[in-house]
C-alpha cells in the first residue's frame, strides 16, 4: 500500500486519518523488514543444509565408485533405489583426475561440466564449497573431495542446483507480499475505527461547542470518559464555560443595574422639568426646579465617575503605585476627614491598636477603600453609636485595619454579595443612606488590586470589616 505523506498537507488531515497513516507506515515497514530478514535467514539456512547434504553425499559416493573391467570408473547406481531424500536424486556428479581429465560424470550432468580444470589443493583436506554456473546458467553449489582409488588419485565433485533454494525463497516472499496488502488493509480499517472511536467524544464536544454562544452559556460539553485525556479536556473546557457563564451573568446584571441606577436620576430630572413647564411659576420656583435638576445631574455625574473607575479597574488600566507608609497615619487622616459625618449622628470613632505598623501598598487606593468602608460604618451605626477601628498586624504578616460598627450587622446570606456592584442588603433603602451602591465594590477592588484582602463578619454588635495588606518588614 503506497502511502505518500507530504508533511505540510499532512497537518491539515484529520487526526484519525493521520493516526491511521502512521500505523500503516510503521506496520508496513516492520512487515517488510521482517520478510527481508526471514528470507535472508531462510536462504542462509537452506544453503548450509545443501552444503551438509553435499558433504554427506560425497562421502557416500566415495564408497560407491569402482573401476570396471576395462579400467573405466563406474558408480554403483543401485544404491539410489532406496534413496531416502529427493536431494540425492538432484545431485550432479563428476570425477576428474588431478590433471583435469574427465573420468566419470553421471547422467544428470549429461554433457555438462562442474567447473573446468581443478585448482590447486581442490578438495584436499576439506570440501572447498563454492558456487559455479553450469551451461544453462543455473547456479550450482559444488563441493570437491580428493580420493585415491586403486592407487589413482581422483577428484570427486558433487553439485547441487541452487535454484531450488531461490525458488523456496521466492515462494516465501511471494506469499508474504500477497499477504501484506491484506494485512495492511485490515490494519488500516481497524486502526481507523479505533482512532475514530477514541476521537468520537472530541468530535461530539466540538459539535456542541460550536453551538455555544453568549446566549446559551449554560450548556456544557458531554464527557464520555472523565478519566482519559479527552475527558480531561472536556472538563477543563466546562470549567472555563462555568467561569465565562458567571462573568457574563455578572456583566449582564451590572449592565442592567447600571442602567437602572442611571435611569432613576434621569426620570427625576425629566419629571421635575416637565412638571415645572406645565404652568407659570415664579422665578423663585424656576430657580428651585433648576437647582433640583442640577442635584440629580450631580448624582448622575458621580455615578458615571464611579462606573468609569470600575470599568477602568476591570480593564486593568489602573496600576497600583506602591510605597511604604504608616497604616495608622493613613487611618487617622481618613478618620479626621469622615469624623464630622459621625459627629452629626453623635457617633464616636475610636482608634486603637498598634500605631507603628508599616504597610506596602497604594496609599491613594487604600485611602479610598478606608473612606468608603468608614463612611459605610457611619451610615449604618445608629445615632449615638460607636465605631471602633483597630490597626496592627494580624496573622503572621498582614497589616490589618478592622472597622467595627454598632449597626444591625450583615446577615450571613448577604456577606458574600455585599461587595458586589449595586448590591443592597435591603431593597427599600432610601438613597439618602443608600449611596450609589458602588462604594464597597470600589473598596474591594482597591484592596484586591494591591494584593490585599477585605472581609466582613459579624462580631459583637454590628459588622466588622477587615482590610489586610502585606505588612512591610524592614
Amino acid at each position: 500500500m503506497p502511502v505518500r505523506v507530504r508533511l505540510p498537507s499532512a497537518k491539515s488531515l484529520p487526526i484519525r486519518t493521520r493516526l491511521t497513516i502512521w500505523y500503516l507506515c510503521v506496520l508496513g515497514t516492520v512487515l517488510l523488514v521482517f520478510a527481508a530478514v526471514t528470507a535472508s535467514v531462510l536462504y542462509w539456512q537452506l544453503s548450509r543444509q545443501l552444503t551438509r547434504f553435499a558433504i554427506q553425499d560425497i562421502e557416500t559416493i566415495e564408497g560407491l565408485l569402482f573401476f570396471d573391467a576395462r579400467g573405466n570408473l563406474q558408480q554403483n547406481e543401485d544404491y539410489h533405489n532406496h534413496a531416502e531424500s529427493r536431494k540425492i536424486l538432484e545431485r550432479l556428479l563428476e570425477v576428474i583426475s588431478p590433471d583435469g581429465t574427465l573420468l566419470y560424470r553421471n547422467w544428470r550432468l549429461s554433457t555438462d561440466r562442474l567447473g573446468g580444470a581443478p585448482f590447486p589443493a581442490e578438495g584436499a583436506g576439506g570440501y572447498s564449497p563454492r558456487t559455479i554456473h553450469i551451461r544453462d546458467g543455473t547456479p550450482v553449489l559444488v563441493v570437491s573431495r580428493r580420493h585415491v582409488m586403486g592407487g589413482r588419485p581422483l577428484i570427486i565433485r558433487v553439485g547441487y542446483r541452487k535454484d531450488t533454494v531461490s525458488a523456496q525463497i521466492w515462494q516465501f516472499l511471494t506469499a508474504s507480499f500477497t499477504a501484506l496488502p491484506l494485512a495492511l488493509s485490515l490494519i488500516a480499517i481497524f486502526g481507523f475505527q479505533v482512532a475514530r472511536r477514541s476521537l468520537a467524544p472530541m468530535v461530539d464536544m466540538a459539535r456542541l461547542a460550536e453551538q455555544i454562544t453568549a446566549e446559551n452559556l449554560d450548556r456544557r460539553l458531554p464527557i464520555a470518559n472523565p478519566g482519559d485525556e479527552i475527558g480531561h479536556l472536556g472538563r477543563v473546557i466546562n470549567e472555563l464555560l462555568d467561569r465565562l457563564d458567571l462573568a457574563f451573568a455578572q456583566l449582564r446584571r451590572f449592565t442592567s443595574d447600571a442602567s437602572h441606577e442611571l435611569r432613576t436620576p434621569l426620570a427625576a430630572i425629566r419629571s421635575v422639568g416637565e412638571v415645572s413647564l406645565q404652568g407659570d411659576r415664579t422665578s423663585e420656583q424656576y430657580r428651585d426646579t433648576i437647582g433640583s435638576m442640577l442635584e440629580e445631574v450631580t448624582r448622575l455625574t458621580s455615578l458615571v465617575e464611579n462606573l468609569l473607575t470600575i470599568s477602568r479597574a476591570d480593564a486593568g488600566q489602573i496600576e497600583p503605585r506602591f510605597s511604604v507608609f504608616s497604616l495608622r497615619e493613613l487611618v487617622d487622616e481618613v478618620v479626621s476627614l469622615v469624623e464630622i459625618l459621625a459627629e452629626e449622628y453623635e457617633q464616636k470613632i475610636l482608634v486603637t491598636g498598634d500605631s507603628g505598623t508599616l504597610v506596602r501598598g497604594d496609599r491613594l487606593l487604600l485611602r479610598q477603600a478606608l473612606i468608603n468602608v468608614l463612611h459605610n460604618a457611619t451610615k449604618y451605626s445608629p445615632v449615638g453609636g460607636k465605631i471602633t477601628i483597630w490597626t496592627g498586624v494580624s496573622g503572621s504578616d498582614w497589616a490589618t485595619v478592622r472597622i467595627s460598627d454598632t449597626g444591625p450587622g450583615i446577615a450571613a446570606e448577604h456577606r458574600d454579595k455585599i461587595f458586589q456592584r449595586f448590591y443592597r442588603v435591603t431593597e427599600g433603602r432610601t438613597r439618602e443612606t443608600g449611596g450609589s451602591g458602588l462604594g464597597l465594590a470600589i473598596a474591594q477592588w482597591s484592596v484586591l488590586a494591591q494584593g490585599g484582602q477585605i472581609t466582613v463578619e459579624n462580631a459583637g454588635e454590628g459588622a466588622t470589616f477587615a482590610i489586610a495588606l502585606p505588612a512591610y518588614k524592614s
Binding site: G291, L337, I340, L341, I371, N372, G439
Partner: protein, 227 residues
C-alpha cells in the same frame, strides 16, 4: 476681556458663551478647530477655551499649531476623557489648564479668572462683607462685635469663600482647593455639606443678613443680597 470658545457641541458652546457673558466677558464661538485656529491667528483674544474632541483636527493638534504660530494666550482644555495620559499630554502640548466634562460652571469661571489673572491673587489680609470680617494673619473672624471661633477647616472654607466673594463656589472647587482631594467621591460631598452647615451655624444663624448662601444644585456663595 475677549474669550474664544472652540467647541463643536452647540448647546454647550452657547451655554458657556451665555455664562461667560453674564460674567462680563466678551465671547466668540468657533464650531470647528480650523475656524478657531483662524480666528485666534487673526484677532486678539485674551483666552481660549478649547475642546479636545473636535471633528477634523482635534484639540491637541490645534493647540500644537497655535503654540507653533506663537499664540501665547492662556488656553483652557475641555475634554470628556478623564485619563492621566490625556491630562499630561494636554499640558505638555501647551495648555494652561484642563477641565473634565461634565464640569460645574462655577469651576469653569474660577479657572478662567485664575488664568486671566495668571495665578491666584494673594488674598487680602483683611476682608469684610457686611459686618463679617476675616483676618488672615490673626486667623480671626468677627461678626459685628462678636468674635467667632472657627475650626481650622471652617476657617479655610471661609477664607476660600472670601477669595471668591460674590461668586458661586462648587463642591468640586472646595474638594480640590480646600481638601486637596483629587479623587472626588460621595463621602467627601457629605463632609463638605456638614462643614458648611457648621460654618453657617456660627457666622450666620444668630445674625442678619444671611451671608453664606446655598445655591441649589451649584454650590455656595458668600454675598450680601439674596438675588
Amino acid at each position: 476681556m475677549r474669550i474664544l470658545v472652540i467647541e463643536d457641541e452647540r448647546k454647550l458652546a452657547t451655554a458657556i458663551k451665555d455664562g461667560l457673558e453674564s460674567d462680563d466677558y466678551s465671547v466668540a464661538i468657533a464650531y470647528t478647530g480650523e475656524d478657531g485656529f483662524y480666528l485666534l491667528c487673526k484677532q486678539a483674544f485674551d483666552l481660549a477655551i478649547l475642546d479636545i474632541m473636535l471633528p477634523g483636527r482635534d484639540g491637541f493638534e490645534i493647540l500644537a499649531s497655535l503654540r507653533e504660530q506663537g499664540v501665547k494666550i492662556p488656553i483652557l482644555l475641555l475634554t470628556a476623557k478623564d485619563t492621566l495620559e490625556d491630562r499630561v499630554r494636554g499640558l505638555d502640548t501647551g495648555a494652561d489648564d484642563y477641565l473634565v466634562k461634565p464640569f460645574a460652571f462655577p469651576e469653569l469661571l474660577a479657572r478662567v479668572r485664575a488664568l486671566l489673572r495668571r495665578g491666584v491673587v494673594p488674598a487680602k489680609l483683611r476682608s469684610r462683607l457686611a459686618d463679617l470680617q476675616i483676618d488672615i494673619l490673626e486667623r480671626s473672624v468677627k461678626r459685628g462685635d462678636s468674635v467667632i471661633e472657627l475650626t481650622a477647616k471652617e476657617f479655610e472654607i471661609l477664607e476660600y469663600l472670601f477669595i471668591h466673594q460674590g461668586r458661586v463656589v462648587s463642591r468640586e472647587m472646595l474638594a480640590r482647593d480646600v481638601w486637596k482631594d483629587t479623587a472626588r467621591q460621595t463621602p467627601l460631598d457629605n463632609v463638605i455639606d456638614v462643614h458648611i452647615n457648621h460654618l453657617r451655624r456660627k457666622i450666620d444663624e444668630p445674625f442678619k443678613p444671611k451671608l453664606l448662601q446655598t445655591v441649589r444644585g451649584l454650590g455656595f456663595v458668600l454675598r450680601e443680597d439674596s438675588r
